[in-house]
């Protein structure tokens, strides 16, 4: 029953989709088609992400990350968080479980937010792809602006989140 409850939104979405199939079969077929496509896409890139995650979780010693990306890590922590995020691949929600591991290992909230921002918009594979399609002046300008923006946004968030709120967030990933 609790298992079923975890999936209540999934079941609701499936119910809506089934309703669409009955009401408009051609639209329904298109939805089924696209859903199957994105399902296969996720399925294809998620296993290695989670295996790498599991390995990192087991093998990276807590102290090591704390000393490199902890709350007092300054500039080197910022650079490390940016690199960790931009050498990644996959959509943004792939970054959340990694951020959870970072918090579990004691990384500072500012660095976690820099990591999320870097993953969202500074990814190197995407940068190369963007350069190919939109030109290097577009992609380089956007990358540099975004880097400034990511650091600024991370600074604002870590300033505005109180210590209590931060403790509550970190407690989720103990």
């Amino acid at each position: 029953m609790t298992q079923l409850l975890r999936y209540k939104w999934v079941l609701a979405a499936i119910a809506v989709d089934v309703g669409v199939v009955i009401w408009n079969p051609s639209l329904g077929a298109r939805i089924a088609d696209r859903t199957a496509d994105s399902f296969l896409e996720m399925l294809s890139f998620l296993p290695p992400i989670f295996i790498i995650l599991g390995l990192l979780d087991t093998w990276v010693p807590r102290e090591k990350v704390v000393s490199h990306m902890g709350p007092g890590s300054g500039f080197s922590g910022l650079i490390l968080a940016t690199m960790l995020g931009s050498f990644a691949a996959g959509p943004l929600y792939g970054a959340f479980p990694v951020a959870a591991v970072m918090m579990k290992k004691g990384a500072g909230y500012f660095n976690v937010m820099v990591f999320i921002g870097a993953w969202s918009t500074l990814k190197v594979p995407m940068f190369l792809f963007e350069t190919q399609f939109l030109g290097s002046s577009f992609s380089i300008t956007r990358w540099l602006c975004s880097f400034v923006g990511v650091v600024f946004i991370a600074a604002v968030i870590s300033r505005l989140i109180t210590d209590d709120e931060q403790q509550a967030i970190y407690a989720k990933h103990k």
Partner: protein, 160 residues
């Protein structure tokens, strides 16, 4: 490309780990499965939403809405589409180029690309599970505003 790299990394990591310590390798895989199982409900919901969004919103409609004559209204529409949809980069960049070639403004395309990457309305509930509501509102809200700044700068640098 990304996928090949990821599988190579995972395989190399597993081989190294297995060689070093079998017990830790088993532990790693258990942790991997637990983490996956944790986000599976949210993930499945996202997949269903993506499927429906891609079926309802066609690339032609996107091109039409982002036309060069759309001005500030077009930027707002671009930001809305970019924030809500989860179009993978390998579809979004070719689409952006097509839209640009059809005479769309840099402003609209830049706002679209930037919000697409940084703002995630659909994934916000999942994000809130990992952080908290305040963080999610701040990150997505500031990223949305920031996307307009990026667009103005890009327009200055590459706009004709």
């Amino acid at each position: 490309m990304d996928i090949v790299l990821f599988y190579t990394l995972a395989a190399a990591g597993l081989t190294w780990s297995y060689y070093k310590d079998r017990q830790k390798t088993k532990q790693s895989l258990t942790k991997a499965w637990k983490a996956f199982n944790n986000i599976l409900p949210a993930l499945a919901f996202v997949i269903l939403l993506i499927g429906a969004t891609l079926a309802v919103v066609s690339p032609e409609k996107v091109s039409q809405l982002l036309g060069s004559s759309s001005g500030a209204g077009g930027m707002v529409i671009a930001a809305t589409i970019g924030s809500i949809t989860l179009i993978p980069g390998f579809i979004a960049f070719p689409l952006a180029k097509a839209v640009l070639d059809m005479g769309a403004g840099i402003l609209q395309v830049a706002v679209f690309i930037s919000t697409l990457m940084m703002v995630g309305v659909v994934t916000a509930p999942m994000e809130a599970q990992f952080f908290n509501r305040k963080t999610v509102l701040l990150r997505n809200g500031l990223s949305l505003l920031f996307s307009f700044v990026v667009a103005v700068v890009l327009n200055q640098v590459v706009g004709r």
